[in-house]
């Protein structure tokens, strides 16, 4: 009896299915498509779109049997076109959702970066503060000892040691500040374009709360003071120059990003431009010191040259000097002009300038290769005017003449001795 009932129900329900109006089927299909379209439009996550995709696949399977009917009924589209449109819409939505999801991930990543950055900067700035304290103490000590340095050798040695320490400390601080800048640059600033206004406000707050710009200014200022107070040895100048360049490069990247962040804050922008100016002052001071060192070399050798503080000055001052020497050599005594030439080329130019300072000047762009070539040409001209002579040649000729005299005198002595020997042999035959 039960079996019969089940069979009846199956037949009855199958009959009901068969009895469905085509119009209803079409309407149902259209409604489902419309509803799926709306679901795609309103979905705001990939998982929601994946659920829609499953529904679409299910509808495809269920409606496959009515394809012929739907092909005609969906005019001007057809069954395939309707699903193609839906699939395209879904794919575009998935692409958009993927991008949104990627952006959301980036925002989350950016936020965690900012957090890490804030922690790093706090640690770094604490360490920097300690270094600055040490720096100030050392500086005061140096200034105290410097007053007595001339009077005692012990004080002078101590000054030398402390100056070395101060240099190391300053470089360490430079590295610390560069580390902070780097920390900003390599992490967050590359992603600055992706930061929201809130993220940017966080970065500004971090910079301000850690007085980062003040620290940078203090550091530049300390570097300038070291140069101004001559708390360095000339050999260190190039190292300072390198440090300045590195710092400026980092700042250029960091500073331009800061200008963007501070777009609406004129006061902070002013601070950034002030740092730009200080950095160029720092550079100028180092350059002036390098040129002053080169000036002092000529002065120490009693060569009277006009002061120079740039590559072009250096070139023209030297060329003028050499020209004057060439001109005066035409009227002065031969030996004197050779002496002057040898003194300048061998003692000053080769030992001091060419070996020590010329590479520094060229490496740091203070002198161009062209300017060096012009000076070398002038030196060659001077050499030609000297007839190729130099003190070395005079010494060589002198030694040769001396050897010749000794040889001549020796041979004469031997000859005389031989003659005396033969006379004696003649007088006393064996």
């Amino acid at each position: 009896m039960n079996k019969l009932l089940i069979i009846f129900l199956i037949v009855f329900s199958a009959g009901l299915l068969n009895a469905q109006s085509d119009f209803e089927k079409i309407q149902n299909f259209k409604q489902k498509i419309e509803s799926l379209n709306k679901e795609i439009e309103s979905a705001d996550s990939l998982s929601q779109l994946e659920a829609v995709m499953t529904k679409i696949e299910s509808l495809k399977l269920k409606s496959e049997a009515d394809k012929e009917l739907l092909d005609k009924a969906l005019y001007p589209d057809d069954y395939t076109k309707t699903f193609e449109k839906l699939d395209n819409k879904l794919n575009i939505a998935i692409q958009n959702a993927s991008q949104i999801s990627a952006l959301e991930e980036e925002v989350t990543e950016a936020q965690s970066l900012i957090l890490k950055l804030q922690q790093d900067i706090t640690i770094l700035t604490e360490s920097e503060a300690k270094l600055r304290q040490e720096n100030t103490a050392l500086y005061n000590e140096i200034m105290r000892i410097k007053k007595n340095a001339a009077r005692s050798k012990e004080a002078s040695d101590s000054l030398k040691t402390l100056t070395g320490k101060l240099k190391d400390l300053i470089l360490k601080r430079d590295a610390f500040i560069a580390g902070i800048i780097d920390s900003f640059f390599t992490t967050s600033f590359q992603k600055m374009n992706e930061f929201s206004q809130t993220d940017k406000a966080d970065v500004i707050a971090t910079i301000k709360s850690n007085n980062l710009l003040d620290k940078i200014k203090e550091l530049i200022n300390d570097n300038i003071v070291i140069i101004d107070k001559n708390l360095f040895i000339p050999e260190d100048l190039e190292e300072y120059k390198k440090e300045q360049k590195k710092f400026t490069q980092n700042w250029k990247k960091f500073g331009s990003s800061l200008v963007d962040i501070y777009a609406s804050q004129n006061e902070s922008k002013k601070e950034i431009y002030e740092i730009d100016f200080m950095l160029s002052e720092w550079d100028k001071k180092i350059n002036n010191k390098i040129w002053a060192e080169v000036n002092s070399i000529f002065a120490n050798y009693n060569i009277q040259l006009d002061q120079f503080s740039s590559g072009s000055d250096f070139e023209s001052v030297l060329i003028n000097y050499i020209q004057k020497e060439i001109d005066s050599s035409k009227i002065s005594d031969n030996i004197d002009r050779v002496k002057n030439y040898s003194y300048f080329t061998e003692d000053i130019w080769e030992k001091e300038i060419s070996e020590k300072w010329m590479p520094v000047l060229l490496r740091n762009g203070l002198l161009t290769e062209k300017q060096k070539e012009n000076i070398d040409d002038k030196m060659d001209e001077w050499s030609d005017a000297m007839g190729g002579f130099s003190m070395t040649w005079i010494y060589i000729v002198g030694v040769v003449v001396l050897i010749a005299i000794i040889t001549f005198w020796n041979s004469r002595r031997l000859k005389k001795k031989n003659e005396e020997q033969s006379i004696s042999n003649e007088k006393n035959p064996v």
């Binding site: 009959g15 009901l16 009895a19 109006s21 085509d22 119009f23 209803e24 079409i26 009917l69 005609k72 009924a73 005019y75």
Partner: protein
């Protein structure tokens, strides 16, 4: 006699000049459902047709007052006949187009009490009418087959 012969030739020639295009299939894939406006006019977008249903309502119910808002179901079979039905209709009406009008070509009696929920389906050689109780296979000539749901 000559005149008669001449007239016959003209008639034959005229008959020869009419062109017949076949086979032809006028069937719609599915019925369309339209609601009448206040004047009893219905509009069909896809097939671009419009007509007034007041005479049909009057024929079915005896008056045309209730035509406004009435929903009718329309389908066309392979031979080009239109089948019209509506809720509570006792009959299905068949029509043909003629001179810019729909002219009734027949009436197929389905139910004495009126069809509760009628619907047409297009089938190969007939129109299927669903009534909610019974299914009918219809042609322009009448009921082809009756089936119980």
């Amino acid at each position: 006699m000559r005149v008669l012969f001449f007239a016959l030739v003209v008639f034959i020639l005229q008959a020869c000049s009419s062109v017949i295009l076949e086979p032809a299939d006028f069937s719609w894939p599915a019925e369309v459902v339209m609601s009448a406006d206040n004047d009893g006019n219905v509009f069909e977008k896809r097939y671009s047709m419009t007509f007034n249903i007041k005479p049909l309502i009057k024929a079915e119910f005896g008056d045309s007052v209730s035509a406004a808002g009435k929903e009718i179901r329309l389908i066309r079979n392979k031979n080009g006949f239109y089948f019209i039905v509506s809720k509570n209709f006792k009959n299905v009406y068949t029509f043909l187009m003629k001179d810019g009008k729909l002219k009734s070509s027949g009436k197929i009696e389905i139910s004495e009490t009126g069809i509760e929920s009628p619907a047409f389906n297009q089938r190969n050689n007939f129109i299927e009418l669903l009534t909610g109780k019974q299914n009918f296979n219809l042609t322009e000539e009448g009921i082809e087959e009756k089936k119980n749901e």
